[in-house]
Amino acid sequence: MIIDLKDERPIFIQIADGIEDAILSGIFTEESQIPSITEFSVNYKINPATALKGINILVDSGMVYKKRGLGMFVTKGAVEKLREKRKEQFFDNYINNLIAEANRLNISKSEIVLMIERGLSNE
């Protein structure tokens, strides 16, 4: 997880996205504890209010939950929920941008399809 000041996204969004990535890739497994607000803020040298704001996004969306006096934990079923959410965003984040750049470079529809096929076969 990297905090990038030059990134278009505000820091608190980067924190939320970073934790989501870590849940998706299995670094934070379901029902396991995630680092505390203090640990996040000290480690990334960010204001605790910013870290709190980021983590609250995940609490509000039900991806993590608070256990009083113990800390924050990844909700059971969070991985599946996140996958669904990211799939919905996939079109906006990747396909739209891909088509926009392809138009700028005059890449034809058939060329795009060929490239996607080439990418898939390299997997």
Binding site: L5, I11, Y44, K45, I46, N47, T50
Partner: protein, 295 residues
């Protein structure tokens, strides 16, 4: 509520107006960044807050009570400043003992612990320290006094990158464990931009910005592209500055960005705090026009 209220403070030195009717509140448990060019009035403001110098008019209130000759109020603030008021030849460890007398909540064990982390030899006399280690010595005290208000004037002066990193981490840890109000005055804007919650920009003795750092940053963006396209786009927009290079132009704009009205062929980025600060505080005298003519 534990807050510092600055009410209509003015201060002149000879014919120089250092602070011009400054009114501001420092709220409880927030980290403030006090930013300004050299000579803007940052240190004067911090020195007035702690009663080290006196304003010509106006007053400073802590919890509603004036700080003038008020030892309780002054004891709730610690100012780490450029000047060191300890006697010459005094050793660091003795300075810690004396600090405890003036600030009863001073945690000597913690001060010694962080001194060790910075590799500061506490048996040395204060005057024998380099610029960097003089700052570190003051940092070890500022982070251990446990007062409700900690004011830091150029805390990282002379510190190397590793020590600055350690300082910011310790500062945030301290703030998390013992919430307090911290005001950091610094020129290293990029480094503090994520540490501070609110930003106060002072220029020519006046406060020109006082808002949440995130709110300020979300308002600014840059647009760059060919000069003609950018010039058309920035009409009727709040442009705070621009750079041009040949036919290329980059404009710095305050306001909400509306991606759907952006013309083709321009690029946008968000405005980081340092660039925003430079644009907001640029003066005619150091404008790019002069820079260009000297090339």
């Amino acid at each position: 509520m534990n807050s510092i209220e600055v009410k209509d403070i003015s201060k002149t030195f000879g014919d120089v107006c250092a602070l011009d009717h400054v009114t501001i509140n420092f709220e409880q448990n927030k980290i403030y960044g006090l930013l300004g060019r050299n000579g803007a009035g940052k240190s004067t403001l911090l020195n007035i807050l702690t009663n080290r110098i006196f304003p010509d008019s106006g007053q400073v209130l802590i919890n509603g009570i004036s700080t003038t000759n008020n030892d309780t109020a002054l004891g709730s603030m610690y100012l780490m400043s450029e000047k060191t008021y300890y006697p010459e030849k005094m050793k660091i460890k003795d300075a810690y003992k004396w600090t405890k007398i003036f600030y009863p909540d001073f945690d000597e064990t913690y001060a010694k612990k962080i001194a060790q982390m910075f590799k500061l030899n506490i048996k040395k006399p204060i005057t024998s320290l380099s610029t960097g280690y003089t700052s570190i010595f003051k940092i070890t005290i500022a982070l251990s006094v446990n007062t409700p208000f900690i004011l830091l004037d150029e805390p990282v002066l002379g510190l190397d990158a590793n020590h600055r990193d350690l300082f910011y981490k310790l500062l945030i840890e301290k703030f998390s464990d013992h919430p307090c109000t911290i005001v950091i005055s610094t020129h290293l804007i990029e480094e503090v931009s994520q540490v501070i919650e609110d930003i106060v920009i002072i220029q020519d003795g006046k406060i020109i910005r006082n808002e949440s750092c995130e709110a300020l940053l979300s308002k600014g963006y840059t647009v760059s592209g060919s000069k003609t396209i950018v010039d058309t786009y920035i009409q009727y927009k709040n442009v705070i500055g621009y750079d041009s290079l040949g036919g290329l132009k980059t404009a710095y704009i305050l306001g909400e960005i509306n991606k759907s009205t952006l013309p083709d062929g321009v690029e946008t980025t968000k405005l980081d705090l340092q660039r925003l600060f430079i644009q907001l505080t640029n003066e005619l005298g150091d404008d790019r026009n002069e820079f260009e003519s000297s090339l």
